[in-house]
């Protein structure tokens, strides 16, 4: 067991976005979160590295780092929490004034105070891994969406996280560019990364996930292996959602 989350709630003003979320993330496993827009799945993912601060809830990591969001959380603990996970955004959010290589080295060199030359070599390795070695010195606006997202993945990997978080990593991409990003994520699955993926790509979720979690209106409606949740859902709400996604017309 890598991370256990208990009793997580999150409101934006009056609006309750997450209601009593409990989940477990196993080491080396892939957890996919699916659900309609507004279901709270992205907010849940963002809570996992405190981009949104939960109102309540406890995080318990296997290495005995515990956080209770019902109390005021110290900045130092927020940084420690973020240090554990790498985040890949729907809209990439690359730093536009830095080259692909600088985007990747920014965390290791500036934040983690790594040796410049060592980290640059490691960044080149990461860019090679995502198939962009020859683009290292280009700026984000010189790259396609798919390439930018792959740099985004390399940037997240560069901080040596224990957990990778993906927030709809292919939603902003042209259809013909989705494949290149998904295949990079599949490579990470083979390397046994612990991952949480918020996605609309049901086929992809089916292929890579160990567990699928269906959310609606701030609740986890159903969770289980993909063969169950995606193929033989028990809950009516899940069935409706899948039907609508699979037969949009």
């Amino acid at each position: 067991m890598y991370l256990t989350v208990n009793g997580l709630t999150k409101s934006f003003g009056e609006l309750e976005v997450l209601k009593d979320i409990n989940l477990t993330i196993e080491k080396g496993k892939v957890l996919s979160i699916i659900g309609p827009s507004g279901s709270g799945k992205t907010t849940l993912l963002r809570c996992l590295n405190a981009l949104e601060q939960p109102n309540e809830g406890t995080f318990s990591f296997h290495d005995s780092f515990n956080l209770d969001f019902s109390n005021k959380i110290h900045k130092r603990d927020v940084l420690k929490l973020r240090r554990k996970s790498g985040m890949v955004f729907q809209s990439y959010n690359l730093f536009p004034h830095k080259t692909a290589l600088e985007n990747v080295t920014e965390g290791p060199i500036i934040v983690q105070k790594g040796k410049k030359e060592e980290e640059q070599n490691r960044a080149i390795e990461l860019l090679t891994k995502v198939g962009l070695k020859d683009k290292a010195n280009l700026y984000p606006n010189q790259l396609s969406g798919g390439q930018q997202q792959r740099v985004g993945i390399a940037r997240a990997l560069a901080i040596k996280p224990e957990l990778m978080l993906f927030d709809e990593p292919t939603s902003a991409l042209d259809p013909e560019l989705i494949g290149e990003v998904l295949s990079v994520i599949k490579d990470l699955v083979k390397e046994n990364w612990t991952m949480v993926v918020v996605t609309h790509e049901l086929q992809f979720a089916d292929q890579v996930s160990d567990e699928v979690l269906f959310m609606d209106e701030g609740y986890i409606v159903e969770q289980g292996p993909p063969s169950q949740v995606l193929k033989e859902p028990k809950e009516e709400r899940t069935k409706q959602f899948l039907k609508r996604i699979l037969n949009p017309a």
Binding site: N49, L51, K75, L79, R82, R83, S85, G86, M87, F89, S91, N93, L94, F95, P96, H97, E106, G107, I110, V111, Q112, Y139, P140, N141, R155, A156, A158, I159
Partner: protein, 234 residues
């Protein structure tokens, strides 16, 4: 200063036309080099530093930091620059604080630039998407590091055009310093005009010199903007 009075010897009341124009150029340009340009550069640099401070205070979550910033900006933007100049130069002596003309001008113009530029910087920082902050946080940055490494470099690009305008306005506004006895370009013009009574010629000449400076600056501005636009986020 020996220079101004020396230069005036080459000008007398009998001169007019082209000869007067030619002979007035040097003293005015010297006034510009000696006072207008240093005043502009110092006030702009000092002003920008305080502007950044005011902008960051204004964006802070703490009301103790926000309130003074809002008050200062409001006071400076809501009062005439000339009045501010007079308060520093003619007003402060009654509190036993006497400051020479040039440093008085530097103080007043710096404060003025700080107030206007802080609003520009604040808007530039706010114009950078929230995603940039978040991306910086997810690679482990603190707020300060994110501001310094990720947000400010991008905000700088956004703020170059409006800050250039502030700078060009400042060049022209320094002519107000003539009223607190700084012998800058326009004060020189007034001195020459007082001897020759050829107001039209001399003041047109002064206007022409300001225009030349501002024209050159606008070329520099364009060059900087072209350079900075290369990798702005789309």
């Amino acid at each position: 200063m020996f220079l101004p009075s020396n230069m005036l010897f080459t000008i007398d009341a009998t001169m007019g036309g082209w000869e007067l124009f030619k002979n007035s150029l040097l003293p005015m340009i010297l006034g510009g080099i000696q006072y207008t340009i240093p005043l502009t550069l110092i006030a702009f640099t000092v002003g920008l530093l305080f502007a950044l401070l005011l902008a960051i205070m204004r964006l802070s979550k703490s009301a103790f930091l926000r309130a003074p910033s809002i008050a200062i900006v409001s006071a400076v933007r809501g009062t005439p620059l000339l009045v501010q100049l007079f308060i520093v130069f003619y007003g402060l002596p009654s509190l036993d604080v006497t400051i020479d003309p040039f440093p008085s001008a530097v103080i007043a113009f710096s404060i003025n630039v700080a107030a206007y530029a802080s609003e520009i910087i604040r808007a530039s920082i706010l114009s950078i998407s929230k995603g940039q902050w978040e991306a910086a946080y997810t690679i482990g940055m603190t707020q300060n590091t994110a501001l310094r490494r990720i947000i400010l470099p991008q905000a700088t690009r956004v703020s170059v055009p409006p800050l250039s305008n502030t700078f060009i306005s400042l060049v022209k506004d320094t002519s107000l310093a003539s009223l607190i006895l700084v012998t800058e370009l326009f004060r020189k013009a007034q001195e020459i005009a007082a001897v020759t009574y050829d107001f039209m010629l001399i003041y047109i000449e002064a206007a022409f010199l300001y225009w030349v400076v501002c024209f050159l600056l606008s070329l520099v501005q364009q060059a900087i903007e072209t350079r900075l636009e290369r990798h702005i986020s789309s």
